[in-house]
């Protein structure tokens, strides 16, 4: 394996262990009452969802455990981790939950600032290097390669469509969350709380890591039936996308979407020196997100596309020395170099 890939794999595996099994590893810190983080602990207001929420058989299931740190880092860390996991949840969960709870902004601000800071430093590196769901997906890709099954390649229009869908998904789940926060509609909370989590594949996958059975199905009412079926479809799509399409899923992921807003202007940058380029296309060939812009760029460019997960596979596959360079606040981290 090449240098960068080896580093990335190691970081991915360590993150996966930390983020998913963090609850086991740092168990001593867990107390239901104490606040293990410097940041404010966000709780449901008294009386919220007092009705039927979280009854057995419900799709959403609170683990009852608190995470080690009460914060929301920019990658898909699921709240449905065994033993609460390392961090609280992903950003979509954070926004949805607090829109419904109508939490006052002053409690959100510290969490948001931390999130923005982390995004500003590393951009979507969180997707490419940390996100445990992405790591699971990369494992599927690895499996496909071992089985000698060719990768599917998608036209750039498909990528843009997926991004559109992602916007739709995010705005829909946030609007629903905001809507059910009003007392008039609070009765919908039992079914529509955390709408994206209901269908998110991480909700089903993360508990499996702790050998805990996730809530696979709930056929008690019409809405839960719809959510159950949707969750299955999404999980199927997720597995298929990662198996055949490398990281094509990450164009659809709403957490990735939020991270992608910070890619441009992030501290981590990908530079191309056009005069070194032979237009061989190896960079575009290697990009798991299917981006082609760094191949196309014919002048010196800072390449921080919203779709780029900063995996730097393009950098390690470029056969021209110093053609592609990664810089962190202007300091060179790594550059393309063939052997």
């Amino acid at each position: 394996m090449k240098r960068i890939s080896a580093a990335r794999r190691s970081v991915q595996v360590i993150s996966l262990i930390l983020l998913i099994y963090g609850g086991y590893l740092f168990k001593g810190k867990q107390e239901e009452t104490g606040n293990s983080s410097l940041l404010p602990r966000l709780k449901a207001p008294a009386g919220a969802m007092s009705t039927t929420k979280f009854q057995p058989g419900q799709i959403l299931w609170p683990s009852g455990d608190t995470p080690v740190l009460e914060s929301y880092p920019p990658s898909l860390v699921c709240r449905f981790n065994p033993k609460g996991g390392m961090f609280k949840a992903c950003i979509v969960h954070f926004l949805s939950e607090n829109l419904t709870w109508q939490t006052s902004f002053k409690y959100l601000l510290p969490h948001l600032s931390l999130f923005f800071l982390l995004c500003f430093l590393l951009g979507r590196m969180w997707c490419g290097w940390v996100c445990p769901i992405g790591t699971v997906g990369d494992f599927l890709t690895w499996l496909r390669r071992k089985m000698n099954v060719p990768a599917r390649r998608f036209p750039s229009g498909f990528r843009i469509t997926l991004r559109g869908f992602s916007y739709g998904l995010l705005s829909l789940s946030l609007s629903i969350s905001a809507f059910i926060g009003f007392p008039r509609y609070a009765r919908f909370q039992c079914y529509w709380f955390l709408p994206y989590c209901q269908v998110c594949p991480a909700r089903l996958l993360c508990p499996l890591f702790g050998l805990i059975k996730p809530n696979w199905k709930d056929f008690s009412t019409g809405i839960t039936i719809v959510f159950t079926l949707l969750a299955w479809v999404v999980l199927g799509l997720f597995l298929a996308a990662f198996y055949w399409g490398r990281r094509v899923w990450c164009h659809l992921c709403p957490v990735g979407l939020v991270n992608s807003w910070f890619n441009r202007g992030a501290g981590m940058e990908l530079h191309k020196k056009a005069i070194k380029c032979t237009k061989c296309g190896y960079c575009a060939e290697a990009c798991p997100m299917g981006l082609t812009e760094m191949y196309q760029a014919s002048s010196d460019t800072v390449f921080n596309q919203p779709g780029c997960i900063m995996c730097w596979r393009c950098v390690e596959n470029c056969p021209r020395d110093n053609c592609l360079t990664v810089k962190f606040f202007g300091r060179k981290i790594v550059a393309s170099k063939w052997r």
Binding site: R144, G281, R339
Partner: protein, 385 residues
């Protein structure tokens, strides 16, 4: 010819290459002949054959070929036609010709009368986005053809092994390339182009070892820097034994420090960068190595050539460019004007030399090159170390 050059070379290890060049080609049933740097050697190796690139520019053979093709055909086409009259050529089980230029396309038809020819269509597009799948598909067809025709497996693992071998060869070549560019006079242009020409039919592993040996010997030898202006040679390929251009350059006291020709740089500089080890991934990677990054003027990629020239000139601090046009080769000839224009804007001195394989115009060439040297000398010591 090879003997002569061998005696002149200061490095003993270069003997391997000259001997390889001097050897009569063996009629071998296990070789597959091919032309141009657009044919994937790795596939031929994986199929259990020994790839032999037969590209030749030989005035003797060209004259012999004139009887078969037109006198006005390009010298490479004529040389190949002449070569095709050899017994060795006829004994090859298969010859692969890419449809790069029109001459090669017509040759494929002409040669198929006497030898089995596989015509490898590479199209005319040079854009990864539009053509990569097409190239990979053509390579796949070639692989399937070999499998069927010779009843072999040519497995993915074999292909991977072949890629590793050619990548090690590329590693050695890049070392040689950089070493020559950075150490003027250390390894002569003759040795360099002889080594490149020898790589056409040498086993990649042996060749790699020999190049490392050559480099080690050169590093141990005291270098006498001639102080001659250092040039980049671009354009038509310099193929053994047609070293006329190298001779006149030497006589005019100009040094070829680096090249971009398809006989040396184009054949050896680019690696196979394997992204996915699936069969599909390998074929795509090969297509990108051979066609994607190619500087062959049969593709619309003049801007890329200009970039390569400017990059080499600034990276190795060269003094100028000699652009070699093999007379009667249209594609190299026609891009000269545009190239000159681009390089003028980049302030890179360029001398275009149009000549053929005959020796009559040597005196005239030397005069022109001496004028170039004087001009470069006047430009001051801008690029001198």
């Amino acid at each position: 010819m090879a003997q002569l050059l061998r005696q002149r070379s200061v490095l003993k290890s270069s003997a391997f290459f000259y001997e390889a060049l001097a050897r009569e080609p063996k009629p071998a049933g296990s070789s597959i002949g091919y032309f141009c740097h657009l044919v994937p050697e790795e596939i031929i190796i994986a199929a259990g054959f020994h790839p032999q690139r037969l590209c030749a520019t030989d005035s003797y053979q060209a004259r012999s070929g004139e009887e078969l093709v037109s006198v006005e055909a390009c010298p490479v086409v004529k040389s190949i036609a002449g070569l095709a009259r050899n017994d060795f050529f006829r004994s090859l089980p298969l010859v692969v010709l890419p449809g790069s230029c029109d001459g090669k396309t017509r040759l494929a038809e002409l040669l198929s009368v006497t030898t089995e020819v596989y015509f490898l269509d590479v199209g005319r597009g040079a854009d990864y986005l539009e053509n990569a799948s097409f190239w990979a598909e053509k390579y796949r067809q070639f692989l399937h053809f070999l499998r069927k025709r010779f009843g072999i497996t040519a497995s993915r693992e074999k292909m991977l092994q072949a890629c590793h071998a050619t990548n090690r060869r590329t590693e050695a070549f890049r070392r040689l390339y950089r070493y020559r560019a950075e150490n003027p006079g250390a390894i002569s242009a003759f040795d360099y182009f002889a080594a490149a020409s020898a790589s056409f039919f040498c086993d990649p592993v042996t060749w790699t070892d020999q190049v490392h040996r050559l480099l080690e010997e050169s590093q141990a030898t005291a270098i006498k820097n001639t102080g001659w202006p250092r040039l980049l040679l671009a354009g038509s390929p310099i193929l053994f034994p047609a070293f006329k251009l190298l001779e006149v350059l030497e006589e005019a006291h100009l040094e070829v420090a680096a090249d971009l020709t398809c006989g040396a740089y184009g054949h050896l500089f680019d690696p196979v960068e394997i992204d996915e080890e699936t069969e599909d991934g390998l074929l795509r990677a090969l297509a990108l190595k051979y066609i994607g990054g190619s500087l062959c003027p049969c593709f619309p990629n003049l801007g890329k050539l200009a970039d390569r020239i400017q990059d080499a000139v600034s990276e190795y601090r060269l003094d100028g460019v000699v652009y070699y046009v093999l007379r009667l080769c249209q594609v190299y000839d026609l891009q000269t004007i545009t190239l000159r224009q681009i390089l003028k804007d980049g302030k890179v001195p360029l001398l275009a030399i149009k000549t053929d394989l005959e020796r009559e115009d040597r005196g005239q060439l030397i005069t022109r090159l001496e004028a170039l040297r004087e001009m470069l000398g006047e430009k001051g010591e801008r690029f001198k170390r």
